[in-house]
Amino acid sequence: MVTLLVAICFISFLLVKNSPIDPIQAYIGADMLKVSPEQRAKITEYWGLDQPVMMQFYHWGSAVLSGDMGTSMIYRRPVMEVIGERFTNSLALMLSAWVLSGVIGFVMGIIAAMKKGSWIDRLIKWYCFTLASTPTFWMGLLVLIVFAVWLGWFPVGMGVPAGVLAEDVTLLDRIQHLILPALTLSIVGIANVALHTREKLIDVLASDYVLFARARGKQGMVLFWRHGLRNVALPAITLQFAGFSELFGGAVLAEQVFSYPGLGQATVEAGLRGDVPLLLGIVIFTTIFVFVGNLLADISYRVLDPRTREGRKV
């Protein structure tokens, strides 16, 4: 993991350094014409842009290690601070979508598997396959059209109401702005879990131990509750944790559609406007985020599956 992270930092660093976007121009923006070549040279020297790339990487790397990722050019605040604040917003969004899609997908997968071959199974399967090919942002636009424009139930965008002071933003306001993007992410996220759960449960239902349970007179819900749920929940949970990467990808798009001020939107802004420190910070941060997801998947397996939990004792 450490080597991976270092490599990712290094590669990302090289990539952004080779970008045709001039960091100084990005920093100064429209006032570029007013900057004299001398001033320019000064800034270059101040940022160490005249040094070899390896030196620059070394300086940046050691700063990151000491917890300083530099200052965001577009927000004019420390990168850590921007990421922290934006991520809190994104976390609310991703967490609700994560839970919602997980639960709904799981239940749909179970229903499909229990009624395998019926019209409801086919409907669920069709829905999932179609969703898997649906562009997240288009789904967001549809949700926006239906709920915000036609029905007028929700505001069209922005994380908080425009023109209201930060202190006056109530929790209710926040939740109201959270619902549509979370809904979008959930709708798209369901497919994976549902299909996976369906496959698993079909396997479990065809297993010898379910046959034996039936031989012992167990049936219907009792059978499912005792032997099905446990054996299906484990892979579903693991899958959900391992899907952090896609979750973040979805969040980027959903936040863009709904102008939700999360980390995803910050990523896009950083990319569009050439905010190198912020972009690098986000790359590192999301890598850790994905890693944590995989770690949680691993841990959940260890904690929940007796075969890996108690395997050592034997």
């Binding site: 991976l4 071959g117 649906t134 549809l142 952090f244 990467s245 798009l253 896009v268 990319g271 569009l272």
Partner: protein
């Protein structure tokens, strides 16, 4: 198990073939349409602005009076083109690295597996944004970005497949008989990997197209002058609140259908190439 109605005298494999042909025809139609549609329909026409879908303008017109149907088809053609290059590039990288990992010894295997982990540990979209940023966006940036980000999972599949074939008895026998490494690769491994490659390639397609549209949508992909679906959708956002739903609805739906077509082709090729035809 078979859920097909009996009145169709086709078996599983014939059905799969029929679906592939149908989907391919539709795709071909879109491409041809995109190439031959009248450019005149998308010139600014201020007398016919913002009109909802009608017989004359199937998908309506936008704020400049351009016909949305024509724009959509052109966008789709562009998407398919970008998807083709991206998927082909990605699948080739996957094929090469997957084979290399499985045949060139432990060290190469470890290195390639490490690279796969590397690419999988950053969210796809973030990598794409990073690469697009480096290359300054545009057609080149997006194609290279897509090519570089989609190979890891297919490479894994091919690596596993090749490893399995290599340990198979008949390959072991060939080796004892003194056949060279290249001979074995050519006669035993390649024929098995080609179907995997084809299926993988077709299944990469939808991902590539969707990601292209996504990156273009957020503004780091194709330039705003290209008639891309991502551009159409991101432009439409400004007009949604005024109720012009058709600007977003139809282009997205068409993209969805195209992606689904590729998915179908991929799945059905898999059905055709696998011996296990009992699964639904």
């Amino acid at each position: 198990m078979n859920t097909m109605p009996k009145k169709f005298p086709l078996n599983h494999k014939q059905w799969a073939l029929a679906k592939i042909i149908l989907a391919a025809l539709l795709l071909a139609l879109v491409i041809i349409g995109g190439l031959f549609l009248d450019e005149g329909r998308i010139v600014t026409n201020l007398t016919d602005r913002n009109s909802p879908p009608s017989l004359e303008h199937l998908f309506g017109t936008d704020w400049l009076g351009r016909d949305m149907f024509t724009r959509t088809i052109m966008g789709l053609t562009l998407s398919i083109g970008v998807g083709l290059i991206g998927a082909l590039g990605s699948a080739s990288i996957a094929m090469f690295l997957g084979m290399a990992a499985a045949t060139m010894g432990k060290r190469a295997d470890r290195l390639i597996s490490w690279c796969i982990d590397l690419f999988l540990s950053v969210p796809h979209l973030v990598t794409l944004i990073l690469i697009a940023f480096t290359l300054g966006g545009g057609f080149k940036g997006i194609v290279i970005g897509l090519t570089l980000t989609h190979w890891p999972s297919l490479a894994r599949v091919i690596r596993a497949e090749v490893m399995q074939i290599r340990s198979a008895d008949y390959v072991q026998v060939s080796r004892r008989m003194g056949k060279s490494r290249w001979w074995i690769a050519l006669h035993h491994i390649v024929p098995h990997v080609i179907p995997q490659f084809l299926v993988g390639f077709m299944l990469l397609f939808p991902h590539v197209i969707l990601h292209e549209a996504a990156v273009t949508f957020i503004g780091l992909g194709l330039s705003p002058h290209e008639p891309a679906i991502g551009i159409i959708l991101s432009e439409s956002m400004k007009y949604l609140s005024s109720g012009m739903w058709w600007l977003a609805f139809f282009p997205g739906l068409c993209l969805l259908i195209i992606v689904r077509m590729f998915d179908q082709i991929g799945e059905n090729i898999r059905l055709l190439t696998s011996s296990d035809s009992n699964r639904d």
